[in-house]
Subunit: 344 residues, 2 copies
């Protein structure tokens, strides 16, 4: 019962298949005009220019707040925000020259990773440093792409696994969190996710939910926010947050009583939030690079296929499959064997 | 990942909100042209003219088969089909005059109900006969509307409840059925449904599934079919079938592993069918006549709202709410109390 209008610089954006799509740059007059008669404007891509977000927020209800977008777009602001909020995060320092990098490495130690402050996802714009002697090499490898915005260097944590927590906050401040999700990567790209995360304890969930709640409160946030965490022997370190629905949260479509998408809409529209309960363990497998044969995916018991209708390209997320099982182990087993079958 | 094009004589049809909508009569040249470059054509409204269905079926893949539509549109063909397939149904006879009605009532007894052979749903075009002396009155009440197509008179069964079973058959003949649904009416219109039906036994499910399978096989059917049944002390009598997804099956959206809609598409596209398992009891409440305030509906724990975007009108189905609970009793309790709250 809701009507949508999408703005995207790419005329082939998937949203065009189900709603009005206006092809325009985010900062263009067309984008501003498209927003004018909307009840609320939101985004599901964190590289929307903050200037466009602020301009929109002056004219229409724009949620989540542009400040969350601004902080999420800059790794230095983001990590500083974690520290200010008492959210544990790997040690880090801003570095603007090879000399600063060397000095920072003395304090942080190696292994470390040099990251461009801005842009970059799925491991792009990042350069690992095994030993202090390799710092110049890392600087040069990383330097050209994003030097204008500067870098941070951070401790490369030997984490056991990556977890994510999806949280949602309504206009009235009501906050709900989904059970922690365990994420498995391949080649720096999210490959599959499962929820509730294996070996999930009440304490782990409570720490993650508390961290997410601090971020939501900090921005007077409205909508869905995702926090990525490293699990280091039961200690959670924040890696980054995304001010939007998240790839790892796609499993909420079938897995949770209310999907991350529905809850994002409920939040920004001022409706009561929906239950974030996960009645049965759920999983999601990304379809990357090439689209497998549909019938093969659909013959997996309980599988649901989401095909974004995008042109195949190496490393590109073209779709995903979700499924539920009676146990987390059974979900993981199915995801792993499906992934193996697709890789072959 | 599928692309849709809809044809409807009504330019305000709900489908227009999410896909291309061509406003045209079903039998028009525009409708035929719209179908030409589709991989498959289907329907979700059983009053599509059979002539249009047959014409389409000559030119494109058209599923389910037009014959199922033809039989479902005529109560005499439909009931005769039940009898031929060994599916129990209330006693009935075709009647073309008041005299034939009187003679039929001698065999069938009263109470009975006179029904137009064609058109009519939600109790329209029907006239109850309490006693033989009332037959002329019933004839006159029913007569004007649909006399051209004739009538049937059938035994008015004192049933305990109405059940429905949703079944789906793939292009390769694979057949699956959902658990029986219990339907509650108000003023002749479906008010709410719950699945699995309370006091559902393996035998009840097996009889219903067998009846549905006979119908599917009879038409070499592909897609979703719904069979409505009266439960008379554990004996099931077929009332009617619908060659389409069904209002009572809307609860499969959240309630079943694969919704009736997804399974209909899987079937007609030749994909493997999805699981029809219902992991948790599920319910559906129709929103009829006027649309309640959204926030009020959404604050019910686990509730999902479907608003068809239709103009309010007495007796019109404007949307529905689905929800799941841990027990069937809890679902029924929630539906009943929600309905009471809406009625007040």
């Amino acid at each position: 019962g809701l009507a949508f209008r999408f703005v995207d610089p790419d005329a082939s954006a998937s949203a065009g298949a189900i709603a009005e799509l206006i092809r325009a740059e985010y900062t263009s007059a067309e984008a501003m005009a498209a927003a004018r008669d909307c009840d609320v404007v939101t985004f599901e891509f964190e590289n929307v220019p903050v200037a466009a977000a602020r301009e929109l927020a002056r004219n229409v209800m724009f949620l989540p707040p542009p400040e969350a977008l601004e902080v999420a777009q800059d790794r230095l602001l983001e990590k500083t925000c974690f520290v200010e909020l008492g959210i544990e995060t790997p040690r880090f320092e801003a570095v603007a020259s090879p000399e600063e990098l060397d000095r920072a490495l003395e304090r942080i130690g190696t292994p470390a990773v040099l990251k461009a402050r801005r842009q970059g996802y799925d491991g792009k714009g990042q350069s690992a440093i095994d030993a202090p002697a390799r710092s110049r090499q890392a600087w040069e490898r990383a330097g050209s792409s994003a030097a204008e915005h500067g870098f941070i260097v951070e401790q490369l944590v030997a984490f056991e696994r990556e977890l994510s927590i999806i949280a949602v906050r309504g206009r009235n401040g009501e906050t709900r969190t989904y059970p922690l999700i365990e994420n498995h990567h391949a080649g720096g790209i999210l490959s599959f996710s499962v929820t509730p995360a294996p070996r999930l304890t009440a304490e782990l969930q409570s720490v993650a939910a508390d961290y997410a709640a601090r971020l939501l409160a900090r921005f007077d946030y409205v909508g869905v926010l995702t926090l990525e965490l490293f699990d280091v022997g039961g200690r959670l370190l924040a890696n980054e947050f995304a001010p939007r629905v998240h790839n790892s949260g796609h499993l909420t479509i079938e897995g949770a009583e209310t999907s991350q998408f529905e809850n994002h809409l409920r939040a920004i529209l001022g409706f009561p939030l929906g239950s974030t309960r996960v009645p049965r363990p759920a999983g999601m497998l990304n379809l990357i690079g090439t689209m497998p044969e549909r019938a093969r995916l659909l013959e997996v018991d309980g599988a649901h296929l989401y095909d974004y209708g995008k042109a195949p390209r190496a490393g590109r997320k073209l779709g995903h499959v979700t499924l539920c099982r009676d146990t987390t182990d059974a979900v993981l087993h199915e995801l792993e064997s499906s992934k193996r079958a697709l890789d072959e």
